[in-house]
Symmetry: C2
Subunit: 632 residues, 2 copies
């Protein structure tokens, strides 16, 4: 197993390895590692360097700002990336030491074995496939199970450190004092702790209010948590389709997603070689990977929903669970009796999974087999710690269809299924809409929290209008910021190509940054204790004309620099006290700054002087005015 | 005056006339004209054609959809555009027949005369400058004045027709029945009538809840209204700066803004030849034009705020009023005593006008001259019907500074000034922030409505986070959708280049479309009676795979088509029942459609069949399944 298979290498060559696009460090940043209670808990973060503030009395240092980082090893210049070997399995030791799993003698899935043994697939196959693990008989290996036993796992401690992002240290460090100021939030009942402890993580997972998607067969992932009392997360979707795209492009998109801040990633491939594509992605993914197993099941029956069977679906679940998929979208709430409720809709059923199952139900006139076999599914999930993402197969696909009886009937069923999943200690989140006008968004969160017992909500958008194809990252980013504020734990991104075509890399970047904005806006509004730090640091740098810092503290430093340099490309302009928008004489920040600096230079406490309103100070200002104003 | 001045032509040549970019009609659309109670009230709208729905029983026509249109004559192939002559003065007759104005013998502004008489400016100057009009002595020519006298002006009738956008006709026409369905809104006290009548317009203007910016010296404009009981409007900003841009580019940007949906436009030029640039823009602008007169006043004193005087400012106001500027941003609420309240802020004063006046106040240790001369300003505004946009000079420039005492102190002063303006029947709107986290947005609207007696609110964004330079159209579009929903009447757009540089044409388009989304999302949420029609029509076309209609009903048909064609360029794909996102077998809309169509083909009422849940129908579905599913 030590020499890469040459056929595999040719696949990797075809990907041109990973491009510099996805591996170069973010500007002005370095990767840091925070160690926990044991040396193998090392949490990666990014630290943004800042340049000093120029004051009349000299330079005043600005401390580096640690930020939550999803990029894994990809932006670490120290890391050696070898796609053919996959990432370091950081959770291997943790899983082994729990001593509740066993290495299987062979793949359990018939289909998995057939793919492995098909010589025609050799050139496509990831070479270093590991032997899968499974819970020992009678054991349950879900993080929820441990949490309910009172066990704080290394994953939970990792997450506590990660979520905190050094906030506790910054609070104790006077250099951060001026950027720690924050508004109280309004969280609609969210319970955001001032400090995230491992015990808090455990408690939230035990209560079902948060999940840690972490399949024991995906030891490479960096643990993360989805729950409304933590940072709002962003899911990205990639995947090939029958029309376009290839394995190579999908792996590159995964790393690209990690770079820009995707917290989890769904592989929604519906084209060829889904099994092999997924293996490449999983072995190289630092984030949890989700799938919709019904897509692959449908491929196996040549796209005929009516030919789907429980047995075939079950084999698909196990096939994917043994590869390491961390969460499955399961459309078990699309009940036969709900299907007719969609007949009068403007856009019927728009969930792909939902429509497949609706068609199956109608064709057989039987209840959805995912619903009737739900307990068996729970047993499989618990054996690998795969989390549920209970799919909203009847979500509205247009403003007209928002919050209708079909949608809310399904939501109630998802609540019933949540309770069953929890009997098996299976971690569960609930998917949500869709297309919803702004004033009807909150009802979705309120109903979800009530009907599904505060299981984390995971929503697609919602799009707040249907009339902007080509800009649906924005129509949905608006809804996402609001639904996140109201209590959604994870936002599923939408790209500008939504409704129009398969997104390319630029679309993925636009979609992720939009959703990072929405998630951060939610965190600020809820009053997440660490959220406003970055806004404060960036605004301070903006006010002080530290252009490089303003770029680097932003969500997309490369875009900010590119936009700035479009009109003022010279390096000297990076310290200029203006930009091309207003020019040197009309920059209000410069004017305000001038007033303060003048006061400082003259030994005047500007604030005090102004409050006292002393005429002589006014004269000084006036005399100084002309020179400082034109100094550029 | 009939032969164009050759010098002028050279300026126009330099603009390459207007590009095809800004003049070609929007795809699938035609300009229509709706005539009011008299033949000279002809309201331009756009009508989007739709292709028929294919049903098993043949083609079923879809009616054209009328939409509110801001593009004026620029997208009308019948219109002859001659930039050197300007647009047709559609309001000339209305202004004359009121018989309360007089043509002046000469320009009143000293500066205006000097510019006119400077031979060096000949090559820059618009040739056909009209002689300005002013209210006769003792008369007041504001729309608010007429409204309060009980007079319904032609402008008000024009607006009623325009706002209604044929909704009354569509309600009476059975072809529109299936797209008239709508959700009740939640308007936070807004009073949106089912039909906008001229009398309703008059009443809202009389009450000060809405304004019609319409200077008697800008007879070319197509009347529009700004008020929370009407469609939410979008303002766009253009303008040169000392660093870049030219007259030519600004005129092109104005037409570009009209094309994409800008309802009003502010010329924020701060560079050279502000006077001449403005004349070119005004004579060719179908929308109201606003300015910030202090910018030009500052240019006149070489950028030294302390050298500004009331006399010089007054001359600037009159200069611009006689050119036809429709609304002035006046920062009369930046009081001396408020300036110290900004000293502890993270980003001080970020309004350009605010910082200029703050500096003046400090330098002279005197009260803001715009405040002390406010009644004289009102007299000037009333004589030309210029509307106030009372500037928020102390708006927050960062999340940290949101909703602080400085901001709200100024807002109270703006309320006091609103009352004074209304004594003079001067139409008034109030500017708002800025940077505000989501949960603190509503307080801004509530306070504005209370403190300023429901005068229309006109807000910049607000940006809901500071951390995304390069994407501030999105950070602010999120805030804009929310603040519009809560009751803001007009949203001032922000482009992706905000904080980084001067926007180019692409940035302007991105900014406008983002804000059209926010405004429309607000209208849907408030429950505007005509808003959901377009969503319904577009979603129906999407569901029926009428790709061309989906593109054309959207806010940016060209972008939607471009995105679609990036992966499926062939014309045949415009009728395909899938796109590249999911491919032919995974399109959920196609599956749902198939189910319904099959039922129809078999003479089954799908809804009834499903409700009855008859097994034999299920068999038919099952047998049919395989073929229809693979038919593409």
């Amino acid at each position: 197993m030590s020499t890469p298979n040459t056929a595999t290498e040719s696949v990797v060559d075809a990907t041109r390895q990973l491009s510099e696009d996805v591996t170069r460090p973010l500007p002005g940043s370095r990767k840091i590692w925070v160690t926990g209670s044991r040396p193998d808990i090392r949490v990666g973060m990014r630290e943004v360097e800042q340049s000093p503030t120029q004051t009349s009395s000299g330079l005043q240092a600005n401390p580096p700002l640690p930020v939550y980082d999803t990029s894994g090893p990809y932006t670490d210049p120290e890391a050696e990336i070898d796609l053919t070997r996959g990432l370091h399995a950081l959770r291997d030791g943790w899983i082994l030491e729990r001593d509740d799993t066993e290495e299987l003698a062979d793949l359990t899935s018939e289909y998995g074995r057939a793919r492995r043994d098909d010589p025609e697939l050799a050139s496509l196959r990831f070479a270093h496939i590991r032997t899968p693990r499974r819970a020992r008989a009678g054991r349950n290996v879900s993080q929820m199970h441990y949490a309910r036993q009172g066990i704080v796992t290394p994953e939970m401690e990792y997450i506590a450190i990660r979520e905190d992002a050094r906030l506790a240290e910054m609070r104790a460090d006077p250099r951060y004092a001026d950027i720690l100021k924050r508004h109280p939030g309004h969280g609609f009942g969210a319970n955001l702790p001032e400090e995230v402890t491992p015990e808090f993580v455990r408690d939230e997972v035990a209560a079902g209010r948060a999940i840690i998607p972490a399949n024991i067969n995906h030891p490479e992932l960096e643990p993360m948590i989805i729950g409304r009392n933590f940072r709002t997360k962003v899911n990205t979707n990639i995947g090939n389709s029958a029309v376009t795209s290839s394995v190579a492009e999908e792996v590159e998109k995964m790393a690209w997603s990690a770079r820009w801040g995707g917290d989890t990633l769904m592989d929604l491939s519906t084209g060829k070689n889904i099994h092999e594509t997924r293996e490449w992605i999983l072995r190289n993914a630092p984030m949890p990977i989700g799938t919709v197993p019904i897509y692959q099941a449908l491929e196996k029956v040549d796209g005929k929903p009516e030919d789907l069977t429980w047995e075939l679906f079950r084999d698909t679940l196990i096939e994917q669970a043994e590869q390491g998929v961390d969460y499955f979208t399961i459309h078990a709430g699309v009940l036969l009796r709900y299907v007719p409720m969609t007949a009068e809709r403007v856009t019927g059923i728009v969930s792909r999974g939902g429509s497949i199952l609706a068609k199956w139900c109608l064709a057989h006139h039987q209840e959805n087999f995912l619903y009737t076999h739900f307990r068996e599914i729970c047993e499989i999930m618990a054996a690998y710690d795969v989390s549920f993402s209970l799919g909203d197969g009847l979500r509205p696909g247009s403003i007209a269809d928002a919050n209708d009886p079909a949608q809310f009937a399904e939501l109630q069923t998802l609540g019933e299924l949540t309770k069953i999943a929890w009997e098996y200690d299976v971690q569960t989140m609930i998917e949500g809409p869709g297309h919803v006008p702004l004033h009807m968004v909150k009802e979705n969160v309120d109903k979800e929290l009530a009907d599904c017992f505060e299981a984390p909500f995971y929503t697609l958008g919602p799009l707040v209008t249907d009339i902007a194809p080509g800009y649906d990252h924005i129509t949905s980013g608006i809804g996402a910021a609001n639904i996140g504020w109201y209590g959604t734990a994870m936002l599923c991104y939408v790209t500008p190509k939504e409704h129009l075509g398969l997104p390319d890399k630029q679309d993925v970047r636009d979609g992720i940054i939009t959703y990072k904005i929405s998630a951060h806006a939610s965190d600020l509004a809820k009053g997440h204790p660490g959220a406003q730090l970055r806004d404060n640091a960036l605004s301070k740098s903006r006010f002080e004309f530290r252009w490089e810092d303003q770029f680097n503290l932003g969500l997309d430093p490369e875009k900010a620099r590119e936009f700035h340099d479009a009109t003022l490309p010279k390096e000297g302009h990076k310290v200029a006290h203006f930009c091309s928008m207003c020019g040197p004489n009309f920059c209000s920040m410069k004017i305000t700054q001038d007033v303060r600096e003048y006061a400082e230079a003259q030994g005047i406490d500007a604030n005090e002087a102004l409050k006292q309103g002393m005429e002589e100070k006014a004269v000084e200002f006036r005399e100084m005015g002309a020179e400082i104003y034109r100094e550029q």
